[in-house]
């Protein structure tokens, strides 16, 4: 299975169309092509972190600076970032717009991704983080824009889960 080049372009264009100028990310397979485009784009600042919880701090700093910022991470990175999400973003009312690659779910061939994939939705619900699944290249641009808008109006973390349907080439 390979990552969809076309849909990675569509997702990146959705990010651009939402007026996003700054991204923090930890690279992972499904996000690779997307991040390559961000790296090449002179209008986007890409900050690559060593661990996803750092990105929560970077996103808060970008928000304070008045920058339109989103976070890109794998769901396991989301799980690794929870204390920052709870005790920085939620505690202080700082919005986070998170695009999360949902590994380890329907169709997942790799055992190591499965536990994280199985618990991701439950953890999002437990944290009361609003989320949606992005499955179609036709919808994802609108979903990114709406996720960002909602994060800013609610001063809350929100998550858009990037699914296999969207991120991998169809068989």
């Amino acid at each position: 299975m390979s990552v969809s080049y076309e849909n990675s372009k569509v997702v990146f264009q959705g990010i651009k169309d939402a007026g996003i100028t700054s991204l923090s990310a930890l690279p992972e397979t499904w996000l690779g092509l997307l991040l390559q485009q961000a790296e090449r784009d002179p209008d986007v600042t890409l900050i690559q972190v060593a661990k996803e919880e750092e990105a929560i701090g970077v996103a808060a700093g970008a928000y304070f600076a008045g920058e339109r910022h989103i976070l890109l991470m794998q769901n396991h990175g989301f799980l690794a970032a929870i204390n920052g999400i709870v005790s920085l973003a939620m505690l202080y009312g700082i919005p986070l717009c998170m695009l999360i690659a949902l590994r380890g779910h329907w169709g997942e061939p790799y055992p190591w991704h499965t536990r994280g994939g199985i618990v991701t939705e439950g953890v999002l619900r437990a944290l009361n983080i609003p989320f949606e699944y992005a499955r179609s290249p036709k919808e994802v641009g609108r979903q990114i824009r709406e996720a960002y808008t909602f994060s800013q109006s609610s001063l809350s973390p929100v998550a858009l889960l990037l699914t296999r349907d969207l991120m991998e080439e169809a068989l």
């Binding site: 900050i47 972190v49 661990k51 750092e54 970077v58 304070f64």
Partner: protein, 191 residues
């Protein structure tokens, strides 16, 4: 000694003694106290500094917090925010939570050496008031990312508490930055 220098700079502090002592000297709208989420103060500082290149950003950190987010040293080295001064108060103690020894006690772990090995060019390690003053003057004057690791005694304030709600601190800090940006964009003759 540091306090007057912080007048016109976005400042991010960690929780505990660091936040309380700064607050007790007199709160300013440009101070953000990260009262939880240990380790992320320097990441917040990075996010501010990269997007506001004309501001000098100051992070007041501690050994316990840095130890919780060592990756930040590598990220800071990679992006090298030239307008950021990262001060790590190393008291060798998890003071605010009961004073347990941290890994830096008795020099077991050397944070300044770790910062240098992460690839940070300007790292000062000081253990006196004079030494700290000189390192701080250098760091504030330098147009490059600077880290100061300063050994301090494990002594904190005898009280904790602020007349400032946490979201209120965030809202006001963001407003202060927004007002600075507006002022910087407005030509002097138009004022």
């Amino acid at each position: 000694m540091l306090y007057p220098e912080l007048d016109d700079k976005p400042v991010v502090t960690i929780m505990g003694a660091c936040a309380q002592e700064l607050y007790d000297l007199g709160h300013k709208e440009n101070f953000f106290y990260l009262q939880h989420a240990m380790g992320l103060a320097s990441s917040v500082g990075l996010g501010i500094a990269l997007h506001l290149p004309r501001e000098k950003v100051v992070v007041l950190d501690g050994d316990g917090s840095v130890l919780m987010n060592l990756g930040t040293l590598a990220t800071l080295a990679r992006y090298r925010p030239r307008n950021l001064v990262h001060i790590i108060f190393d008291n060798g103690s998890l003071l605010s939570t009961g004073g347990f020894d941290s890994h830096t006690t008795s020099g077991i772990t050397d944070l300044a050496a770790m910062a240098r090995a992460a690839g940070i060019g300007h790292v000062a390690a000081v253990d006196s008031v004079m030494g700290f003053g000189e390192a701080a003057i250098d760091a504030f004057a330098r147009n490059d990312f600077s880290v100061i690791v300063v050994k301090v005694s494990a002594v904190g304030p005898n009280h904790y508490g602020m007349d400032l709600q946490l979201p209120e601190n965030a809202f006001r800090f963001k407003r202060w930055i927004a007002a600075r940006k507006t002022a910087a964009r407005t030509p002097a003759e138009a004022l």
